[in-house]
Each structure stands twice: as structure tokens, then as C-alpha cells.
Amino acid sequence: MTTTPRHRRLDRVRWWTYLLLGIATVVCLFPLYWMFIVATTDTATATRMPPEIVPGGNFLHLAGLVMDTVPFVQSLLNSLVVATSIGVGQAVLCALAGFAFAKLRFPGRNALFLVVVLTMTVPTQLSVIPQYLIMSELGWVDTLQALIVPGLASAFGIFWMRQHISATISDELMQAARIDGASTWQVFWRIAFPIVRPAAFVLGLFGFVTAWNDFLWPFIVLKSPERYTAQIAIKALQNSYDVDLGLAMSGSFLATIPLVALFVVVGRRMVAGILEGAFKG
């Protein structure tokens, strides 16, 4: 008798919970909305106070100005090439290595896996100067492979795929495939990979997003405008700030829209990936 009202009180979500989450929603979405507003109005409107909160009709004009200032379509394509290569490459290579560490027997397996885990502690971002020297030795400065190839290795991805493969693929299944005469590659590609594809997909998504948004390394290694990724094109637009206030905002908006669209479709899988404890590092 007495526990029922208490239970109800615990279960009820209080009004301030929704208030708090509503504020968080506005904080998260407003900067993107504001980007859109400025990207669709002229300078005079964008700087008027109180601010305009409805989009204007200037979007195509500003987008045209963006294209005139930097090869922006090319930069979006470059970002797409780099981010897709890294996303797909990480998903496949990490699944492959994770499969080897989880299911194959070879001398040095445990020691080599420990090495993989330890490499996560090396802060490679701090060695951009020697990385640049290596790229110039290879003749890769101002090329997209200078971004793609280093991005393919992910120690965390191997660690994560190994966990998934250990948990989902039984030794009996491996043995059954072996008895049927499947080679190691066939066991991986026909049996293991299809089973862990959802996990590899989430890994690839995070690889894609990180590569799309990367700034420091592309900023160092890319020189000519037709090689720029979208992020570096934004920086170039900012340099021409005096042309139009909305220019860098339009560029930012154009570079963000593809990711927002992607997120609307697959965002719930990214959220699930984090909630599974995937990206605790």
C-alpha cells in the first residue's frame, strides 16, 4: 500500500528534466541553424540586431561566391574520397587483423596484440614535423594519399573488432567451415566478416566522421587549392573575410550538410556504438 505512491514518484520524469534537455537541444542545434541563416542572407541582414531568425533567399548567390573563391565542389569531393577510403579501409583492415588475433593461432599472437594495445598510448599528433619530412621523402606532399594511408591504421579498431569477433564467432563454426575445405581467407570473407559487419560499419562511420573533420594534418600537407579538403577550403574562405561575412559561413554550412544528412540516417547506430561502450578508447 505505502510503496505504490513512492514508486510513482520515482518513475515520473520531472518537468525540469525536459526543460534541461530542451535547453541542451537548443544549444546543440542553434549554431547549425545560425550557420544556415547567415548562409542564406546578405551581410547587412546577418549583422542586423535584433537578429533575423528566418532564412533569406540568398543561398545560391553565396554558394556561387564560395565556388568562385575556392574550388569548393572539388574540395567536397576530396573530403569524400579521403573519408570514404579511411572509413572503408579501417573497417576491413581492422576486421581482418581482429579476426587474426581472435581466431587464428600463430607464434607471438599475444605479444603482438599487446603491442597493438600499447600503440594507442603514443601521441602521434605531436610528431607532425617528422611526419611531414617522411611525406616529402615519399613525394606525397600535396596528395590525398598523404591523408588516407596514415589514417588506415587504427589500434583501437583492431581491439574493438577482436572483441566482437571473439564474442560472436564460435570455434565450432570455424571448424565446420574448415572441414568443408574453406581457406582462411574464405572463412574470414564468407563467414566472419558478414557476421561482424554491423560492428565494422560503426567503426567505419567514426573513421569517416573523424577523417571528414580532420584539420591539422591536411592543413600541413595540402598546398594547392584543388587538393584542399572541405575543412581547409573553409580556412581559405575565411582569409577572404572582407569579401562577404557570409562566405565562410556558407562554406561551413556546405561542408557540414553532408555529415548532418549522414547523421540523420545512421546517427542512431553511432549512438548505439558509444552506448555499447565502444568508444571508451
Partner: protein
Amino acid sequence: MGERLSAYAYIAPFFVIFGVFGLFPFAFTFYVALFDWNPIGDQVFIGFDNFVRMFGDPRFWNAAGNTVSIWALSTVPQLLLALVLAHVLNHARLKFALFFRMTVLVPYITSVAATAIVFVQLFDRDYGMLNWLLGLVGVEPVDFVQSTWGSHLLIAVMVMWRWFGYTTLLYLASLQAVPRSVFEAAAIDGAGPWQRFRHITVPSLRPVIIFTVVTSTIGGLQIFTEPLLIATGAPLTCGAVRQCQTLTLFLYEQGFGQFEFGYGSAVGVALFVMVVAIAAVNYLLSTRIKAD
């Protein structure tokens, strides 16, 4: 036999790529730091002169101070906010839970460059919405970019905005591992929302809190894009008086602005030492907490 060869072939790409583009440059940083290394001129061995010079360089200490200040301003409020949001998002009966969880991750998929562009506009002295709002309550316009604390605050807000949702979901992941019956039993015993937050949520999140402190600290040491993009007049120094130049931006300025690869690498080594020191402090703290 075939299995062994295949296994080595499957793990080889990682070791080759990491070796060439990760480990080798990392080790090479320590070597380059011992030289007066001009990329288009000579490389002269000078021993530890770069480090001696760095310790006497006020620009280095200024950048170190800025980095710590921005880190503290962004990390502390971010983690507290994430704690509260994770706590409320964990409610069993919450409506639109998926919508809220996805929304807080939207800043994470927005690039740092786009974030910087939009926040600089919102915080602009003359045309920014924030100053307009402050003006409504009688506050004089603040020039965020040109003042030291203002620029630190602006960068901290950007870092916080981009990461608080991600941190929230990390905390939520850990919270979901706490059985709901624990919260219910506490409520039946008369614990209010604040007491449940204080005595169940916070203690059960301790390991992941320590983890996020470490990762946000290591990330904080590498803040680069925000300071580069906010001071358009003098991007490499983040303003005329280096008011918001971080250590990584200082490294970039020396390496790729001044072409002092040796000196820039010495700054890289200093950053590495700080990362190791932070990891060590974390290790000591977490073993002490375990001992408790």
C-alpha cells in the same frame, strides 16, 4: 602453416602503416629536436640547445599557460554538465530518449573549423548575437577575440560545445551498467534525486570520469584549429600579443611558419613529456581510488 602465414599477412598492414607513419616519426621527433634543422637548408647538430632556448622563451611559457587555462575552462564545466545530462538521460521513463541522445551528438559531427567560424560570428564584438543579448541587459560590448580571458573563454566554449554530448553518452554507457534496482531501492529508502545523483551516479562513474579527464587533457594539449581560426588578423600567433596561442599552435608556428623544424620538434617533445606526466598522475590517482 597456411593459417600462420595468413595471420601475419592480416596483421601486417597495421604494423607497417603504424611503423612508418606513427612510431618512426614519433622517435624521429627526439632526433630532430637535437638539430638546428632548416627544411630547405642545413641540419646542424646542436645538442640540447633547442631545449635550453625553449625554457628561456617567454613565448613557450605563454603558450603553455594559455593551454592550461583553456583546458581548465573547457574541461571542468564540460564534465559536470555531462554528468548531469547523463543522469537525466538515464531515466527509464524518459520520452524522446533517442532524439535527445542523437541531438547531443550533433556537435561532435560538426567540424572544428565550422564550429570556430560560427562561434566567432556569434561572439563578435560589433555584430555578434551574444553581445547584442548582453547589451539588452546593459553590458558593454566585449571584444572576446582581442582579450586574453575572452579568447580563452571563446575557445573553451567551442571545445565544450563540440564534446559535452559525446562525454554525456560515455557516462550514460557506464550508468546503464548500474542495475535499475539500485536506484529504486535507494528511492524506496527515501533518497531524493540529489542524493541518488551524489551517492549512486557519481561513484559508479568514477572510472569513466577519470578516463574522460585524461582524454580531454591529452586532447586539450593538442588544441590547434580553434585558436588558428579565431584571430583572423594574426592566425599563427592567435592575436597580436599571442593572447590565445596554444602549445600545438606554437609548434606549428615554429615548424611551418618559421621553418625551425628542430625547435618545433623540441616543443613536440615537451608536449609528449606533459602527456606522460598526466598519464602518470592519472595512474597514481586511480590506484589510490581503487585502494579506497
